[in-house]
Symmetry: C2
């Protein structure tokens, strides 16, 4: 086969090696017929691995030493069965609205794929199976192609059944999506109406304060807002360069520690000295400054620290009412859009302080830079994917490693290699993606931690859909197409057999490996478990780095779930055998993720359900893509009737999307003026407004460690990277594991976020 190719035209220049090479490659890459039994083997292996991991989990989680791995939330009494029993309100209370959105996505997937599985098993599968007049083998040794649309005759009258199934799936998906939308919107409104304590609604983040030679940023800002917002401006709080401040504070603190040891009083006001602040300069440093014994050096340093170089051209500006803050946040302040850039402030816990110091003029650079970097990463990642493709090929393996020939000819090894190996390699490669995308989002300059994670989530989603779905389909298509031109006589057959049904085999094993097994891995928490083991039993330390400090990795899990939805919707008609596998995955995912949300991960911040628009858009995208693929099949099978019926369905789906985009999605971007004004009026009437204004002064705390005494010098911003090494030690509640925390208490604790309540409940060490 690799011998000099007689079909290459003689006139073809030899230096154009690519053509020859391609010819050779295409000949070698042949989509071998995978049998059902190979798939079953793969399923068996995965079920084995899953069972093993789940058993491991049920043993390991009973070990007291692993409690910090499996019960980061320290809700000891909840067992895995609880993941099924707990109501959504509890999940809302514990995990926030984002958790609800994630769980509802799973529920939606279970529902739609139950319907799809019933419809497709009842209607489509038998039609595919008996599509051609042929001698059927025993079912386990039947080729997988027999179960796909590939087996339906051209011009078959039974294709209307496929069309009907597509209609049922699309319509039920839209209906379910509509009700999920309504449900989540209702929850979000309740969330906002219940968030009267959310001080971030009064705050606006201002960046790009213009530099002036005469005044400090703080003064410039105060003058500006008192001029333009005289009736609603309350006070402001500058953002400081952390590097300089930190260095200075460290020396001051060390000196102070030397002088006073551990006698520093606990301080509830975690505020930082901001000019302005409504006039009164309440300064945490007054504690130091007012102490008569502070050394001269300290005083000088404090003077220096007050100097304007420490200020960033960014600040939080507080307004008297929520509506005034919302107006200021939405308005274009200056005729130069690079100055006085306003933005609704994130919740205090959600602020990503490190990025606030970045000059706003850099943002366009960072945006384009990360966009290009992401795009480049997206494109160049194809290399390993195609490597996987070629590895999936037995013939290829045999040629590359001739010494394996004997081994590879054995039936089970054969099935293992074709059915399992490619997706395992792909999955391993994919583990590097989410951290990298988080890094990209950080560089991009997100101002909030939830925004950063959401940005990463979008990037991972694009990446996944492109590199798992499209590249796998496209590489098959391209291969087939190029072969077409060298052997034009096979054209119709090649196109009819198509790349898509061939890709199904890959995706079915992908569901088994990336889906099922990764869920089992998620439950067992292999990496934290390992780290915990090393810390406890090898390094002999009390606290490992994984003591319940993870927030839920939405940026890797949401795209994963959405990808499986995409696969399911796209292959429901073409290859219905994928549906049971997916249904099992989603049910398992429902249980596993509920357990993880309840027991393992902590909720530090919440984006208020802003992951939902992504779910909505991705589902519509999947539906439309599925319809387009069905159109392709109908064209190939020459069924103009079905073609004519499918095009209106696509148009209706797009119309539905436009409706949802107008009816529901704006609620995720903005809070309605009605709601804000109502909340303002309630506060006004109840007299709460004064206390809110007072509490605003200390809500945002750039250097959180200032608020708590002790010698730990880790500042808040050092622990921003919750996805790498968890929270700062100060934030961790030190309650013992065995201590039972009632659900109600945890409700109060984590949602809605009440930073001051948090601060006040912190013990002074």
């Amino acid at each position: 086969m690799a011998a000099p190719n007689p079909t290459v035209p003689r006139g073809f220049p030899r230096r154009f090696l690519t053509y020859e090479k391609l010819e050779d490659l295409f000949r070698r890459i042949q989509w071998i017929e995978m049998e059902l039994s190979a798939l079953l083997t793969s399923a068996g292996i995965n079920i084995g691995i899953c069972s093993l991991l789940f058993s491991l989990y049920s043993i390991l989680r009973k070990q007291p030493s692993n409690r910090n791995v499996y019960f980061g939330r320290k809700l000891a009494q909840m067992r895995i069965s609880l993941a099924w029993e707990t109501s959504e309100d509890v999940i809302l209370a514990i995990g926030g609205l984002d958790a609800i959105v994630f769980i509802r996505t799973l529920v939606f997937s279970i529902r739609i794929f139950s319907i799809a599985a019933i419809v497709c098993t009842a209607i489509v599968l038998p039609l595919n199976y008996y599509g051609q007049e042929m001698q059927h083998k025993l079912i386990p040794s039947e080729s997988l192609e027999v179960f796909t649309t590939q087996n339906v005759k051209q011009g078959s009258r039974w294709l209307w059944a496929h069309c009907l199934a597509l209609y049922i799936i699309s319509c039920s998906a839209c209906i379910l999506l509509y009700f999920e939308n309504k449900n989540i919107i209702r929850k979000r409104l309740a969330y906002i109406k219940g968030s009267a304590q959310d001080l971030s609604q009064f705050a606006v983040l201002v960046r790009g304060i213009p530099w002036s030679a005469e005044e400090s940023y703080s003064t410039t800002l105060k003058n500006y807002f008192t001029k333009y917002y005289p009736s609603s401006y309350l006070s402001h709080q500058m953002v400081y360069h952390h590097g300089k401040i930190e260095k200075l504070m460290r020396s001051v603190r060390e000196m102070y520690d030397v002088l006073y040891h551990d006698s520093l009083p606990s301080c509830n006001s975690c505020g930082f000295p901001g000019g302005g602040r409504g006039g009164g300069r309440s300064n945490v440093f007054n504690i130091l400054v007012n102490e008569p014994d502070v050394t001269e050096k300290g005083k000088m340093e404090l003077e220096d620290f007050r100097a304007r170089e420490k200020e960033c051209p960014a600040a939080f500006v507080f307004f008297k009412t929520r509506f005034a803050a919302a107006c200021a946040a939405k308005a274009l302040q200056s005729s130069n859009p690079m100055l006085w850039v306003t933005h609704q402030a994130p919740e205090p816990r959600d602020v990503y302080w490190r990025n606030l110091a970045i000059p706003y003029t850099q943002f366009w650079l960072r945006r384009t830079g990360t966009f290009l970097a992401t795009a480049a990463f997206l494109v160049f990642f194809i290399a390993p994917v195609t490597l996987v493709q070629s590895l999936a090929n037995l013939t290829q393996l045999q040629q590359t490693f001739p010494f394996l020939n004997g081994l590879l000819k054995k039936k089970y090894v054969n099935q293992l290699v074709t059915g399992y190996l490619p997706s395992v390699i792909l999955v391993l490669f994919f583990y590097t993606v989410p951290p990298l995308m988080i890094l990209f989002s950080t560089i991009e300059g997100s101002i909030s931690r939830s925004g950063r994670k959401r940005g990463a989530c979008y990037k991972v989603l694009f990446f996944t859909i492109w590199n798992v779905f499209f590249v796998n389909i496209a590489s098959g298509t391209v291969l087939n197409k190029l072969t077409v031109f060298s052997q034009p006589k096979d054209l119709p057959l090649q196109l009819a057999s198509g790349a898509v049904p061939a890709a199904v085999k890959f995706f079915m094993t992908y569901v088994l490996t990336s889906g099922w097994t990764s869920l089992a891995c998620e439950v067992v928490q292999l990496y934290p478990l390992l780290c915990n083991f090393i810390y406890k039993f090898i390094l002999r330390k009390d606290h490992g780095p994984f003591d319940g400090q993870y927030t839920f990795p939405y940026h890797s899990e949401v795209p994963r779930v959405l990808l499986f939805g995409l696969l399911g919707l796209n292959f429901a008609i073409l290859a219905p055998l994928i549906l049971p596998l997916l249904l099992v995955y989603f049910c398992l995912a429902y249980l596993v993720y509920r357990n993880q949300l309840l027991n393992v991960y902590i909720t530090e911040y919440d984006s208020g359900g802003k992951y939902w628009p992504m779910v909505q858009l991705c589902t519509i995208f999947s539906l439309v893509l599925a319809q387009i693929m069905a159109i392709g099949v109908f064209v190939l099978k020459k069924s103009t009737l079905c073609l004519g019926f499918t095009i209106p369905l696509t148009i209706c789906t797009l119309l539905f999307n436009e409706y949802c985009r107008r009816r529901f999605l704006p609620v995720f971007k903005n809070i309605a003026a009605e709601v804000l004004i109502d909340l303002d009026q309630q506060d006004e009437q109840s007299g709460r407004i004064e206390s809110i204004h007072r509490r605003l002064q200390s809500a945002y705390c750039q250097f959180e460690w200032l608020a708590y005494g002790g010698s730990r010098m880790k500042s808040k911003y050092l622990s921003d990277d919750d996805d790498t090494l968890g929270q700062s030690q100060e934030l961790k509640p030190e309650s013992e594991f065995s201590q039972e925390i009632s659900v109600d208490e945890s409700v109060h604790r984590s949602w809605p976020v009440n930073p001051n309540a948090e601060v006040e409940s912190k013990p002074s060490k």
Copy 2:
């Protein structure tokens, strides 16, 4: 040539006719070598036509009967030389900011293409011409390919010169763009700051007022805004269903005419009865109602007219300050985003009343509908374009019409057909596009006339770039590619000769026909001239339908100019011969459009320069596309050095775009809060605010004819379609043509729009 093809593989099924047909077609379609002389012939013809038309213009415009065609603006003393002499301030005064943006686009194009022409004629053209070691013919009979990059040897070291030229063009384009941006931003700010009289800044258009069984829309609206905007809400004005009102009013008016003949007094308040309106129900109908002699029937009808069925769920809400209006316009009002939808109100003259009656809930349907319709139109328009492509082909013509063989073999006919015919047909097809896109924009539901035109402009731009540029290039590429696979030995040659240089020939003639000649047609105003002739000399009427009632067709002219910019930037390096043609076009366009803006078109409304973002984006798109095409050439010519240098240039161009997008474009979307608050404060201090509030009551006038007496029953909304049949007769100033209007007066008249001043200056007939 059409004989049975021996290269079609034997195994290839005969029923697949397409393949055979294609094979045959590709063989026949051969890019014949067009000579420079053919191009020169084409240029000669066009110069002839242009000269003819310009002479015609200089004769015709002196005829008194054509004055209403050529001097719609009635600035009689301005000659065409004046188009060169008048300053930009005058154009700003006469044509508004949109005219300035358009003229600046032309100036920018002239500048960049002067630079490009100099650079490319000096550096690139000689290198292309002497690129291959070959025997050169006399220049006029030289093939056009000789002047393109096609003539450069593979791996030539002189390609760095092309790269350098690309750098010079890209950098100078970016620098010029930056300064144009600054210039236009400055003008726009001056425009906004000078628009203290613009009452639309106080108004918000509210749509989607919820229906209630108990209250009228007007009461619901009043309750809502007094509840949520108690301090800033001033009054409101409902929008009425025009059909019902019109019918009713017609009968009332006719009755009134019968009773009082022409004695109806002129009425300055053109307002319509709105509930609310700050309490006082100043009603134009009071004139009628208070007349004691109005018949009983009229009274009953007026009662009926007040009934709520006539109200649309839309209204203009007036606020006390500009900033409050801007806040209300930007905010999401309700948790249901389909209710209480707010939008900055267009200027009174700019309102497209007909669309305000559309329920907001329909908008998503209309949007998607027109999107799909536009997309379908875009795709199916390819048919005539490919027809043009095949007509361009001499061989094809000879085969289709064998009887023409003798004629077609003549040299001049040959040159005429290949060089001229294809683009003429295309141009004729294209004349149908702008009116259709205006229709699409109307159906889409634009609330302002300028918005409708801008929407159409975007659609025409996409359409033009897709159907002129991409389809012409792609059809060439596809043809070549498919030929490649049937004759693989020609692969490298085919790709190197490429489709792009082949397309150049087409585009050069396109510049001549669509560019030069259409400018001449624009000056002569063929269609209005004809209509005018028919009206005056055949129907013997005093006033034709074209008495200076056209507004400038930005939606067809902006895309045209941008397309030529795209062509120029993309082919500057590949085929520098196109540059002189374009430069002539842009200089001519500069003169012609200035003349037209000064003398012919009227300015009814102004979008405030919102066409500029389109120009900016399209220019960057053209630059990036040109760089990508250059990269393609460098790859083909195997110049890795140039390739390596061009990629950073593309990245820098994208970075520059992102910078402009952040630095300049927001100013076109929103008016800065600073500016609004400053204006508010000035009004407050000078005490003008009361008079503004008073004038607001009558600023928006749905049924403008109510304001003027007379028996003409044309209502304002009937003449919304200024692009079809011009303005209502009442709006036309009746001053005589010979009357000289000083520039100052026209400044006052047309910019900034001061509707009340307009209304007051209207004579009562």
